[in-house]
Amino acid sequence: MKTTRREFLAAASALGFGAAAGPAFAQQRTLTYIGWSHDEAASKPVLTEMFNAFSTANPSVRLETIGFPWAQMQQNLILRMRAGQPLDVAQLAERWLPTFAALNNLADLNELFGRAALEEKIDAGLLRIGQSGGKQLGLPWTAASIGMVANRKVLGDAGVNQIPTTVDQFVGALRAIKRSNPEAVPYALATKNNLSMSPDFQVWLWTFGGRLLDNDGAVKVNGEAGVRALSFLVDLMKENLAARDIDRPDARRLFGQHRTGFYADAPLARGFARDNSGQGRAFDQYVAAAPYPVVAAGNNPQSVAWGHLLVMPIIGGRRPTRDGDAARFVQHLAFNDDMQMKYFEAVGLFPVTKTALARVRDDAYVTQWARYASFAEADEPSKWANAADLTTIVGEEVQAALLQQKPPQQAIADMARRLEQRMRDVRRG
C-alpha cells in the first residue's frame, strides 16, 4: 500500500496538488539505499552519521535506508529487484557480484564515471573486485580479506607468547588455550552457516594445496589436499578445539568475551570486538591480525579476498546518470576521504581511495592485515552465476563432516560429485 500511496502522491503533485503539501516536500526526491552494515550495531552509529552528512549536503534528496541481516541480504535483494521495488544504491559483498551481474541490470560505472576518473581515485587492482564480464558493475567501498584474528589476552593467559605461523604451532596454541580455560572455544571455526563455512573451509583447502574448481569450472576438490584439509578440521572438532553451532556473530561475541583465541573475519573484527566487549577502543590492544597458519614455514599465508561494493541497479528502465542523486551518494561514501577515514576510525574497515589509504599506513593493525591480505584469493564459487548453490553444497558437506555424520573422505567425494552436477548445468548454459 506504500507504493500506491507514493504513486498517489506523485500523481497528486503532478496535478499541482503538491504545492499544498509544502514546496520542500514536493521537490524532495527519494533515494533508496539497501545494505546490511547500517543494520549492525557496531557500524550503525558511524553510518548514520555518514548518511546524515549526505542528507545535509543534499537537502532536496530524501534518503531512505533499508537494512537486512547479512545472511538474508542477497536473497532479499533479488526478491526486491525482481519485484521492481524502488532501489537506487545497494551494498553487495564482492562475492555476490556474478549472481547480480547475471540479472543484467546493474549500471556500468565505466560508462557513468569514465575509466580514467575511477583509476585516478582508486587503484586499478582494487577496482577489479567490482568487475564482471569486462564491466565495472560495483564500486569498491572497502576491501581487504577474511583473515585470521587472534585474541592476545587469551593467548597470553594460555602462555602462548608468539602468534603461531605454522599449522603445528597453531594446533599447539589451541591445546594450550583449552588447557588454560576448558570452557573456551580455542578456534571459533564456522560450523553453522553455509555462507561462512564455505570460505573458512576454502582457506584451509588452499593451505593444504587444494582447489575447489579450476578456471574452466572443472571440479578439483576430490584429491588428497581436500581430504587432508577437512580431516584436519574434523580432528579439531573431535579434540574440542573447535565447537558446533558457531556462526560469525557467535564467534565475534566469544572473542569480545575473551572466550576464543582465533576466528576468521574481515578487518572490521576490531570494530565488533570494541562493541561486543563493551570496552570500546580499550579492547584494541587484544585484537591482533594473524596469518592463517601454513603447512611449511616459508609458505604464503592464505586468505579470502573480501570487500563491500556499491552498485547502482537499473530498475524499471530508470538509468542512473553521472550527476544523479545515486551517483553522488556513491561518491560520497566511496570517494570522499573524510567519510572513508571516518568509517575506518569507527570500525576498522579499510578505505579504498589512494589518498585515504596513504593516511592509514601508520596503523599497525592495518599494515599487518594488509601484509597477510596481499596473498588473498577470490572465493571460488563466486566466479559462477550459481554461486549460491555451490556455496550451499560446500557448506553442507563440510558441516556433515564436522558433525561427524560422514567421514571426511566421503564428504569430499560427495562434495565433488554434487559440484560436478551443478557445474554441468552451468556449462549447458
Binding site: 536473497q75 558446533r244 555424520q405
Partner: protein, 302 residues
C-alpha cells in the same frame, strides 16, 4: 463429520431464479479460488517440466530433466524421509498429549475454567515466537534444559541440541507439538462433553476400571473426532514451514529440511523454479493418496 451429500436440495423443487442466485453467489469465490489457488497450483505442476532459473528469463521446456536432477542429486530422498518423520512424530505426540489433556480437563477440579482457557495460549502465539521460545530453552550455552540436566547431574557438558541432526529434529517436533496440543485437546474436550454420562455409569456398574472406561466407552465415542483430528493434524504438519524455518532453517545439514522448506529454498534462494516445482510434484503425490481416501470417506458417509 457431515456427509457432503446429506440433505441435498431437490433440483426439481427450485425455481430458476433461485438457481441463478446460487450461481451468482458462487461466482466470486470461484473466481478468487481459480486465480489464487487453482491456477497457481496447476501452473506450478506444469513448470516442473521446464528449465526456469534466474538465468533463463523465460521457461524452456525440458521434459523430465528436473526429476532426473532430483534423482541424481539424491537430496530429495532424505528430505522426504525427514518430512515423514516430522509429520508422523508430531501428529502422534500431539494426538496422545491432546487426548490425555482433554480427559484431564474433563474432570472437575478447582481452577479448571482458567486452566482450560490458558491451555489455548501456545496455539495463539505467532509461530516465530514459538520458535524463539524453544530455541532459547534448547540453547547450547545458556539454555534452561542444559541447566536442568547439569544441576541434576545427568550430563557433564552442555549439549548443543539444535546442532545435532537428532536433536534438531526432536526440537522442531517438540515445538510444533507444543503449538498444536491446545487445538487437539479442544477438539477432544468438545467430544468428551457430548459423551452421555449414562454410558460411563453403566460401565461402572459392570465393574469397569478407569482404563476400561477409557478403552471401551470414551475412545469408541471419540472415534469420529479422532479420525478428523488426525487427518487435519497430519495435513497441517505436512504444510509446516514457519516453526522449522525460524528454529533451524532446515539444518544442520538439511536434517530438518522438509518438503516445504526445500520448495522455498529452490524457488526463492536458488531461483530454480523448475526444480522447486518438481519437488512440489513429489510433495503432491505424497499427499494425494491419503487425501483421496479421506475425501472419499467424506463423500461416502451417510
Amino acid at each position: 463429520m457431515l456427509p457432503l451429500s446429506a440433505r441435498a436440495p431437490q433440483v426439481g423443487g427450485l425455481k430458476r431464479a433461485e438457481a441463478r442466485f446460487g450461481i451468482a453467489l458462487v461466482a466470486l469465490p470461484l473466481a478468487a479460488f481459480t486465480a489464487v489457488i487453482l491456477y497457481p497450483f496447476v501452473d506450478a505442476l506444469r513448470l516442473s517440466l521446464y528449465r526456469y532459473t534466474l538465468m533463463t528469463p523465460q521457461p524452456v521446456f525440458d521434459g523430465l530433466r528436473n526429476f532426473e536432477r532430483l534423482a541424481e542429486d539424491g537430496e530429495i530422498g532424505p528430505i522426504w524421509v525427514n518430512t515423514v518423520v516430522f509429520v508422523v512424530a508430531t501428529t502422534a505426540a500431539t494426538f496422545v498429549l491432546g487426548l490425555a489433556w482433554a480427559i484431564i480437563l474433563n474432570q472437575p477440579f478447582r481452577g479448571r475454567t482458567i486452566i482450560r482457557s490458558a491451555s489455548l495460549l501456545p496455539w495463539v502465539l505467532p509461530s516465530t515466537v514459538t520458535a524463539f521460545i524453544w530455541a532459547w530453552i534448547l540453547n547450547a550455552q545458556y539454555g534452561v534444559l542444559n541447566a536442568a540436566l547439569l544441576v541434576a547431574g545427568l550430563i557433564d557438558e552442555p549439549i548443543a541440541w539444535l546442532a545435532t541432526p537428532e536433536g534438531a529434529m526432536s526440537g522442531v517436533v517438540l515445538a510444533k507439538t507444543w503449538l498444536s496440543v491446545p487445538l487437539f485437546s479442544a477438539f477432544f474436550l468438545a467430544g468428551l462433553q457430548a459423551l452421555p454420562l449414562e454410558q460411563v455409569e453403566a460401565a461402572r456398574i459392570d465393574g469397569a476400571t478407569n482404563g476400561q472406561v477409557i478403552r471401551h466407552v470414551v475412545l469408541p465415542h471419540l472415534r469420529t473426532t479422532m479420525v478428523v483430528t488426525l487427518v487435519l493434524g497430519a495435513m497441517g504438519n505436512l504444510q509446516q514451514f514457519d516453526v522449522i524455518y525460524a528454529m533451524t532453517g532446515g539444518g544442520p545439514v538439511r536434517a530438518t529440511t522438509v518438503l516445504s522448506l526445500e520448495v522455498r529454498r529452490q524457488a526463492f534462494e536458488n531461483w530454480n523454479i523448475g526444480l522447486a516445482s518438481a519437488v512440489g510434484v513429489i510433495w503432491f503425490l505424497t499427499i494425494a493418496g491419503p487425501a483421496y481416501i479421506y475425501l472419499r470417506s467424506l463423500f461416502r458417509q451417510g
